[in-house]
């Protein structure tokens, strides 16, 4: 009897310690970003295109990268959802759990999940060269989609697998087709979709290597899918490799901005999905 309370106490302490560890790790990263970013973050940074002096610490902002990142992440997330929801649904609802294709598909996405983005970048680049395409927004979106689809699928799949079977039975016995049952499944896994989406957005918006080879970089805002596009991580990457502290600080400003964008997306998305998930059965 005593042992179990002791165990409980110890585990409680361990949990608190890990929470503190996580918070302090993450806090120190955020702190680094915020401390270095706040002093240089200004309205000009957000609202202006870079001037040529920008790189050496003079004027201009990173509007190009903000817009480019949003384009790429938006496009890739859209494509990612359009492709991964059907796949998740197919391997969970249409196929039996033991079906060969379902097992094989899961394995495939696990492997795709682990492929480094530089390989996706290289792969995309090779194909572009092969097809004679130029670096462009479109190529960036496609490569980033490839990169995040496995994240989408695997994290949604994990949640969908937990779906109570009774739920499906009820829907079927009301005469719904499997496709119509999707509506219910989506409600139940909405938080899972949210998590998946943010993991993917996270990876998409922070990825450097995938876009460096395919979307290129530019100081302008792309006006068509065929033009290259700048991205925040690349802009951070370029600026961090500058000799001047001023410029490096701008990289932190960009990182802070990226953080803020992710925060806004996250809160909006969670609010939106909360609407769906509040009826989730537990």
């Amino acid at each position: 009897m005593k042992i179990k309370f002791l165990e409980e106490k110890i585990m409680n302490i361990l949990m608190i310690i890990s929470i503190i560890l996580v918070i302090s790790f993450l806090g120190s990263i955020l702190w680094t970003v915020i401390k270095k970013g706040i002093p240089v973050l200004s309205w000009d940074m957000i609202s202006k295109l870079p001037g040529g002096g920008f790189y050496i610490g003079k004027e201009g902002g990173i509007l190009n990268a903000i817009v480019g990142s949003l384009y790429i992440v938006g496009g890739a997330t859209l494509i990612g959802l359009l492709i991964s929801i059907p796949v998740v649904f197919y391997i969970n609802i249409y196929l039996k759990k033991t079906h060969f294709l379902a097992k094989f598909a899961r394995l495939t996405y696990d492997v795709l999940f682990g492929i480094p983005s530089i390989v996706y970048g290289a792969f995309g680049f090779t194909i572009m060269v092969f097809l004679g395409l130029r670096t462009s927004l479109l190529a960036g979106i496609i490569v980033i989609s490839l990169l995040i689809i496995p994240i989408f699928i695997r994290s949604m799949d994990e949640v969908t697998k937990q779906l109570p079977r009774e739920l499906l039975e009820v829907s079927y016995s009301l005469g719904a087709t499997r496709l119509e049952t999707l509506k219910i499944v989506i409600r139940q896994i909405a938080p899972g979709i949210a998590t998946a989406t943010f993991l993917s957005i996270g990876r998409a918006i922070g990825d450097t290597a995938g876009v460096m080879f395919t979307a290129g970089f530019t100081d302008n805002i792309p006006t068509s899918l065929n033009q290259p596009a700048a991205t925040l991580p690349l802009s951070i990457f370029f600026q961090l490799s500058s000799p001047s502290d001023d410029v490096q600080n701008k990289a932190y400003a960009a990182a802070l901005l990226l953080t803020i964008i992710v925060l806004i997306l996250s809160i909006l998305g969670r609010l939106f999905l909360y609407k769906f998930s509040k009826n989730k059965i537990s």
Partner: protein, 296 residues
């Protein structure tokens, strides 16, 4: 057939390649756009090889390259134009216990060769007068890059032969040396000198090269006090090459797209005056003329 290429008549220039040249080209592009507002220039980094591959496979118009071209590359049609110069220098920590004396002796080529070969591991192997046998910590670059290639070329090696702790990126090496009393590394000039104050960054000092190999840094070997002096020495070729190096912009074959030619001409004329403030070395007058000829 090239003249029929509709691409040739647009006002767009796409550039990719070495990070070493990236800030300079960004500046040039901005100035060029002031004169020609209708032009759109997209510049991205990615590395010299990327610029090379892009140009050869026609993905971009211009490539930035920070190393000498390989024969295969020239065979495949790479056409290089030197647009600026740059130099790599040896850096040590400001608080090195034997700083003053070491700076007097300088760095001989053969010593450098042994250092990055890992055959010297204590400071007093270089500086006999130093009493303490402090360890030497040798830094090199992790990423394949022109700076390391150039530094290796000076001691007749390849980048892959350089031993030492490999750190990612120019700023990485600079800050590693800044933090480590016993460090020695190498950097592009721009990462050593503060462009505003013209002096080396706090914590960093340049270890002069003993060019004539006489065991002491003579007066005319000592031009590291401020950025201007060093750049002048590079431009006058007093500082050996390598570790000074040419920076190239390449095209696929001789450039014919009008807007590209116009841009390159701008770079080789008015553009040269922006080099200094960005930490690069302008071409000498005759070099400049030579390169301009390549465009006609």
């Amino acid at each position: 057939t090239k003249n029929d290429d509709p691409n040739n008549n647009t006002n767009e220039i796409q550039i990719s390649g070495a990070f070493a040249l990236y800030p300079m080209v960004v500046k040039w592009a901005e100035e060029f756009k002031k004169e020609n507002p209708e032009v759109r220039i997209d510049i991205s980094g990615g590395g010299a090889g990327k610029g090379m591959t892009d140009v050869i496979s026609g993905i971009v118009d211009l490539g930035m390259v920070s190393r000498e071209l390989h024969k295969e590359e020239i065979k495949k049609g790479a056409y290089s134009i030197t647009v600026a110069k740059d130099a790599v220098v040896a850096t040590i920590n400001e608080n090195n216990p034997g700083l003053d004396h070491i700076k007097k002796i300088g760095l001989k080529k053969e010593v450098a060769s042994k250092l990055w070969n890992n055959t010297i591991s204590y400071w007093n192997q270089i500086d006999k007068s130093s009493k303490n046998n402090y360890p030497i910590r040798i830094y090199t670059r992790a990423d394949a890059c022109g700076a390391a290639e150039t530094w290796a070329a000076w001691i007749n090696k390849k980048q892959e032969d350089l031993e030492g702790i490999a750190v990612y990126g120019d700023p990485g090496v600079a800050s590693a040396v800044q933090k480590d009393k016993f460090a020695i590394g190498f950097n592009n000039i721009a990462y050593v000198y503060d462009l505003k104050s013209q002096k080396p960054y706090k914590g960093l000092t340049i270890l002069p090269i003993d060019i004539n190999n006489n065991g002491i840094i003579d007066k005319d070997e000592n031009f590291y006090d401020d950025l201007k002096m060093l750049l002048k020495a590079v431009s006058e070729k007093k500082y050996p090459s390598p570790p000074a190096r040419n920076l190239y912009i390449i095209t696929k074959g001789k450039p014919i797209k009008p807007i590209v030619v116009k841009f390159l001409k701008f770079v080789l004329s008015k553009g040269q005056k922006y080099t200094l403030e960005n930490g690069y070395v302008a071409l000498s007058e005759e070099d400049r003329k030579e390169e301009l000829k390549k465009l006609n």
